[in-house]
Subunit: 429 residues, 2 copies
């Protein structure tokens, strides 16, 4: 077999790597026998020359097999999860997983923590007093069996090669590679022992994928690689040019999720839950997407999704009735009359983070009640002095003036009415 | 200033790096504060997107300043050196430096050791009993002042950032980058305190630059970057589709060099010494190239170049009269009648290395008398059974059969006469 430097040079020159070469590279890297400086040079070569579907499949599979792969076949079929490329205010997993579970889907969801301007599903759930994110596999499987879904935090032994590679890509300018992103997401998700995966690929200036073309490229690649690995993958490109829903934070996003599970909540969150959930039911139960969507809507309206949520969260020790509330509020007002044309989600996310709702560095501690509530969503007409958003105070009390100014600046007001673009752009797969 | 990962991403996306950013990167890397995995990712991005003349100049200057820069201004003006991209049998420095010195050029030459199929100038000189390659700077400068030239081995403190970067590029598939090659060569050579540099860029299937286009690109870049740094650089593209001269080894190449210094020797070696030396005289003395070349030819013919060689080598402890000779010879014969159309220098070099004339690994010890003498040069007509080449034995005695077969296979015989292409392809600068 070729040496590491020959493999780097081959990929540099646009050649294919053989299956056993990829498995060897990932294996050596995971075991710390392939130096990081070789892997980072290879990642940069892949940034330019890519990996084809076969190479991506093998790369994914090698990372997947670098750690523990859950075998949940004993739970029966219909195991489907969802993954989102991440957005500000994206609490979708919280109402989605129980709604899908209420429709008979089994959802073994392993979720992450947030860093930077986007929050993490586990951070949101940890705002619930008593909730334990860290479970052993038997407990996790038992909760999925009993309540239809369970959301737990990532463990050290799931796809450790991906963890190592992601940390390296993060500091070497090699994050933005479609095949490496695909392999990273798929290796972690397929380690959950699922049969199908629904993807929410965000598109927009503040999203990881800035253009529809790049987002489609990623979605198509994930659908193709999933297919190569015998998994049904459906991807939706969804618009992200404002925070999702009204709430950005942790406890407040849990509260908003409960609103949705009670049949209420913001229209964009409800629509996304219905669409992604409809596809989950389609894949798990073999019904049409429209039928799946109708079942999700019913589960949100009849209380069955909320019951699933209460049950699973309680099984993880969480007491929803003890959800903490803000220590105060500061209203951020419109500087003039106008229509809300755009809300810069990235800036809203960074403002919330700066107040304690998120982490700048991995070791930062989150204040669960800090958050931002968007009062005037895109399309709304506001008068000068009317509320644009409200800052929810935490232990630190009222926000500094810079945070207020920054949040105000995140809103673009226009003199004319702005048409609201549809949330769902396209379905792939 | 931007962070390391931002600089990698900028170069990845084809953007320019600012002077202070390049100086910071090289400085941090030299001091082991910039991790190798970031530098290798950056080197791969440079492989694809290059560095412009300004960036290359700054990169070169930063590597140059990472270590000691000799100040030889006190020796007076006319300090010019030569660099070759390396070839099999390339002993040119040995007759060239004293010939140029005999014409009044000051040649402070810092040379390297060989690895793989090409030998190193220092390895060749070390075949001379008593010769010391390792000198302190004052001794080096004193020998240049007295004898007009001195060839010493590389020291740890010349361009240490280049040494570190070259070792990293070697294991990360990032050697073949024109701007990084330029910066590597120029940073080491300009640390010698020279005013001008003559470059011999080899072109051919066995050379570092395989095509005339790539060789010209490198030559033009070196001329441009030298100019940006206030140095006169002239480059020659020269053909390398056979070993240079008849001898490949160490003691035998010294002996062949002495032949040239006596006004004899193979025509190709003599021509290259005249051309490169002519350009050195042109740069150092401000005469025309033709006048410079005529002076070099005279110095080879009138014994003044040989006297310089004897003087400088003796000053380094070397006893030319004690040059060791082979312990025996094995003739490699032509398998059939024919004309020598091509001699694969790479294969000849690897055969000589395998017998002990060179190093496979850095720690290997060289046998100074082992070597290969080419008996039938390109263009020669041979009869079946006539000598193609002769293996010169060392302490290990006669060569194994594989070495004989390999050396025979390095000769391509054709039924028709092959025109010999000119050695000098083009002058740049």
């Amino acid at each position: 077999m070729r040496t590491a430097v020959e493999l780097i040079a081959a990929k540099r020159d646009g050649k294919r790597l053989a299956d056993e070469e990829i498995r060897w590279l990932i294996g050596e890297f995971a075991e710390d026998r392939l130096p990081a400086y070789q892997m980072s040079a290879l990642a940069m070569a892949i940034f330019y020359n890519g990996l084809d579907d076969r190479e991506t499949r093998t790369w994914t599979d090698a990372m997947l097999r670098s750690g523990r792969v859950l075998d949940l076949a004993h739970l029966g079929s219909g195991r489907v999860d969802k993954h989102s490329t991440g957005g500000v205010g994206d609490k979708i997993s919280l109402p989605l997983a129980p709604a899908a579970a209420a429709c008979g889907v089994l959802v073994p969801m392993v979720a992450g923590r947030g860093l930077g301007h986007t929050g993490g599903t586990i951070d949101k759930l940890e705002a619930i007093p008593g909730y334990r994110a860290s479970l052993d596999v038997d407990t996790f499987a038992g909760i999925v069996r009993e309540h239809g879904f369970c959301i737990m935090g990532q463990t050290e032994d799931i796809a450790p090669a991906d963890k190592r590679l992601y940390a390296l890509r993060d500091v070497t300018g090699t994050v933005e590679s479609i095949p490496l992103i695909t392999a990273s997401i798929m290796s972690k998700k397929l380690a959950e022992g699922i049969e199908g995966l629904i993807l929410d690929v965000k598109v927009g200036p503040g999203a990881f994928m800035k253009t529809r073309e790049r987002a489609r490229e990623l979605a198509e690649r994930m659908v193709a690689v999933g297919g190569e690995m015998g998994k049904r993958v459906i991807a939706f490109l969804t618009r992200m040019d404002a925070p999702l829903g009204r709430m950005v934070g942790n406890a407040c996003e849990v509260a908003e999720s409960i609103d949705v599970l009670r049949g209420g909540g913001p229209a964009d969150v409800v629509e996304l839950v219905e669409v992604l959930g409809g596809a989950m039911v389609e894949v798990a139960k073999g019904v049409s997407f429209d039928e799946g969507r109708a079942r999700i809507r019913a589960a949100l309206n009849d209380g069955s999704a909320l019951a699933r949520f209460r049950g699973s969260i309680a099984a993880q020790g969480g007491d929803l009735d003890a959800l903490p509330t803000p220590t105060g509020e500061t209203v951020v007002t419109a500087p003039r009359d106008g229509h809300v044309a755009m809300i810069d989600g990235h800036e809203v996310g960074l403002t919330a983070m700066s107040l304690g709702a998120g982490r700048r560095r991995r070791e930062d501690v989150i204040d669960p009640v800090v958050g931002v509530r968007v009062d005037a969503m895109v399309g709304a007409e506001v008068a000068a002095g009317a509320p644009l958003a409200t800052i929810l105070h935490g232990a630190g009390g009222p926000p500094p003036a810079e945070a207020i100014a920054r949040l105000r600046a995140a809103f673009t007001l226009s003199d004319t009415e702005t048409p609201v673009a549809p949330l769902i752009i396209e379905r792939i797969g």
